[in-house]
Amino acid sequence: MKSIKDLEAIRNKTLEDVNLRKDRKGTRVVVGMATCGIAAGARPVLLALMDEVQKRGLKDVTVAQTGCIGVCRLEPMVEVYTPGEEKVTYVSVTADMVPRIVTEHIVNGNPVMEYTIGAAENNTDKK
């Protein structure tokens, strides 16, 4: 038999799963998953993102995929949409970079500048 506390625990646990059917609020993390993205290794990145979000129990974060973001040479690309803020685009993302993006950017609100498209373009310019 379940007590009121047990019910609340089940409720919260299931909420993590069903939350994405409710109206979207909070942060949305989108991975470019067209042919170019998948070929460049977007799938492990997507899985790492889902893992990390789940590990930290982040409820208002949706991980989704999208088509080609456009800069195919910089795939895999990840875009983070936070309500009220400019979108941040990360490029050439690998699974290893995911924990930092989630911790520093999504949880603490500080984008990891060195991974962003801006940083990547500066590097290209210097070359």
Binding site: I4, L7, T14, E16, V18, R21, M33, M50, V63, Q65
Partner: protein, 599 residues
């Protein structure tokens, strides 16, 4: 528990199920596995989304992409494009879910069909997996029962239901809180809580959809009712023709028992309540409360005179509370959001929302939930999408065989209990059948009367004999044998039946006839006086005739006539003997010169 990044919601309601959603679930599971996505994407079978017209329906979250009329062949494309690569397959989306200007997809609430709806009873339908109690819990399930058992007295529960203004959704519209109060005050060592899921009106499927899509909402509400009136035993009376609903209901009861949400000492509060399902054999009269109770007792389902009312003497002669499925489906929301929240929706005397099953000549056949007070025009043309094939609206029928027809001139009346009664119809349980210019109102009235004659239990003479006589007159009229005075006779019989029948079935049975006479008397007169069916429906009034100028006297029609009613000889046009003609149309089909016409 694992989390998935995407959920594929496939409608498992009866409508979509019969258009093949079962195969879709399999196809999705295979394709998802084949693409190695089974750890990322979850397939969920839900209850009815409401837009049965374009089923089977598949909605994919988090995008909220609304795919309609999905076929098994489409699944590969959806999985490979949408789920694997994240590109929504636009050509398979429901046409109205794409923003015409920007090409973006709209969220479900912006689609015309859903925009004006307000979902309370159908809140979870299409959103949760009805066979997973955890999902029900996550969408606020059992919060209402917890609140009731830990914070409220039975009197407070009853007061909340009373203050909300909720009225019975089975059709008659009796105030629900009052009913609960009568039962609470009735004296008895044992009391029962019943749920009427014997939905029998032709074309109505609201209750079925609630039971299929969100069975635990009904179970939780019945448990709350048990606490409020002091009962520890409930029964859900559901028709055996609803196999999916019955199976999900039984599954839900089992899960609730496993969680200790039914049975002894619920939520460790010392409150006991259990539920059983009773199957009805599909007799229409068993939707009447006293007949329903007889049937649960294992006796022949026949009504008995009231009083005593079931609140005092119902099932097994004990105080009994009976509510309809949709009524219960509102209860948890009223408890959680408060009486004021609920009574702010709707009109002065009709609070909240009403679920309607739209059917007949309407574009968006399906299930809609609208706030009370919306006009019929809005329901039919904004939500329902209007009449197909550019035809003209003629009438809408509410309340099934107990209700009446609403003509074009009354399209702007607000939908609430009292307005509908004032124009000779009734709210009914929620069947809404739309008719266009091609429907014959006399034929419709005859159809409903035929239904009643078959379903009358025969216990009281007015209903047993009266409905039969009315049907005979209607049969005569549609066969072209109506005589002057038939309309008046129908009215007299109808009014007498209303006054004298034993139960609601007989008392409301003349409504379809009386309301069509009221608004479409000219059609009746055309049938009787001119022997003409203006809509061209009644076969008995049709005549096949041979156009003398076009007839070449070949004799093919006579050879093909199954009753040999065509005669003639060479060089003289053939003639059809109208008395013998059975109107099969063979002659017209076979005539090589198009010389036979139907009028």
């Amino acid at each position: 528990m694992e989390t998935f990044r995407s959920h594929v919601m496939i409608c498992g309601g009866t409508g979509c199920h019969s258009s093949g959603s079962g195969d879709l679930i399999k196809a999705f599971e295979e394709q998802i596995k084949g693409n190695g996505l089974d750890k990322e994407v979850k397939v969920v079978r839900t209850g009815c989304f409401g837009l049965c017209e374009v089923g089977p329906i598949v909605v994919i979250y988090p995008e909220g992409a609304f795919y309609s009329r999905v076929k098994a062949e489409d699944v590969k494309e959806i999985v490979e494009e949408h789920l694997l690569k994240g590109r929504i397959v636009k050509h398979l989306l429901y046409h109205d879910s794409i923003n015409e200007n920007s090409g973006d997809i709209k969220s479900l609430n912006e689609v015309n069909f859903y925009k004006k709806q307000k979902r309370i009873a159908l809140k979870n339908c299409g959103i949760i997996d009805p066979e997973n109690i955890d999902e029900y819990l996550a969408f606020d399930g059992y919060k209402a029962l917890t609140k009731v058992l830990t914070e409220m007295t039975p009197e407070e529960v009853i007061k909340t239901v009373k203050d909300s203004g909720l009225r019975g959704r089975g059709g008659a519209g009796f105030p629900t809180g009052l009913k609960w109060d009568f039962c609470y005050k009735a004296k008895g060592d044992k009391k029962y809580v019943l749920c009427n899921a014997d939905e029998g009106d032709p074309g109505a499927f609201m209750d079925r959809s609630v039971l299929e899509g969100d069975p635990l909402a009904v179970i939780e509400a019945m448990t709350i009712a048990g606490y409020a009136i002091g009962s520890d035993q409930g029964f859900i009376y559901v028709r055996a023709e609803y196999p999916i609903a019955v199976q999900r209901l039984q599954h839900a009861i089992k899960q609730a028992r496993e969680y200790g949400l039914l049975g002894k000492n619920i939520l460790e509060t010392g409150f006991d309540f259990d539920l059983e399902v009773r199957l009805g054999a599909g007799a229409f009269v068993c939707g009447e409360e006293t007949a329903l109770m007889r049937s649960i007792e294992g006796k022949r389902g026949e009504p008995r005179p009231r009083p005593p009312f079931p609140a005092n003497q119902g099932l097994f002669e004990k105080p009994t509370l009976l509510n309809n499925v949709e009524t219960y489906a509102n209860i948890t929301q009223i408890i959680l959001n408060g009486a004021d929240w609920f009574s702010a929706i709707g009109t002065e005397k009709s609070k909240g929302t009403k679920v309607f099953a739209l059917g007949g000549k309407i574009n968006n056949t399906g299930l809609v939930e609208i706030p009370m007070g919306m006009t019929l025009r809005e329901v039919l043309f904004d939500v329902g999408g209007g009449i197909p094939n550019g035809k003209k609206f003629k009438a809408a029928q509410t309340g099934g065989p107990s209700g009446g027809c609403i003509p074009t001139s009354k399209l702007d009346i607000p939908i609430d209990y009292d307005s509908l009664v004032s124009i000779g119809s009734m709210m009914g349980s929620g069947g809404l059948i739309v008719m266009d210019e091609d429907n014959c109102m006399v034929d419709i009235a005859r159809f409903f009367m035929e239904f009643i004659v078959e379903e009358s239990c025969g216990k009281c003479a007015p209903c047993r004999i009266g409905t039969k006589r009315m049907k005979e007159i209607l049969d005569r009229i549609v066969a072209g044998k109506g005589v002057e005075g038939d309309i008046e006779k129908l009215e007299e019989l109808g009014n007498m039946l209303k006054e004298s029948a034993l139960c609601g079935l007989g008392q409301t049975a003349p409504n379809p006839v009386l309301s069509t006479i009221r608004y479409f008397r000219d059609e009746y007169e055309a049938h009787i006086k001119d022997k003409r069916c203006p809509a061209g429906v009644c076969k008995g009034l049709m005549r096949y005739t041979i156009i003398a100028d076009k007839c070449k006297s070949c004799g093919i029609c006579a050879k093909n006539c199954p009753v040999s009613c065509i005669s003639g000889e060479k060089k003289v046009p053939y003639v059809i003997d109208q008395d013998k003609c059975i109107k099969c149309g063979q002659c017209m089909e076979k005539c090589p010169f198009g010389a036979i016409e139907l009028k």
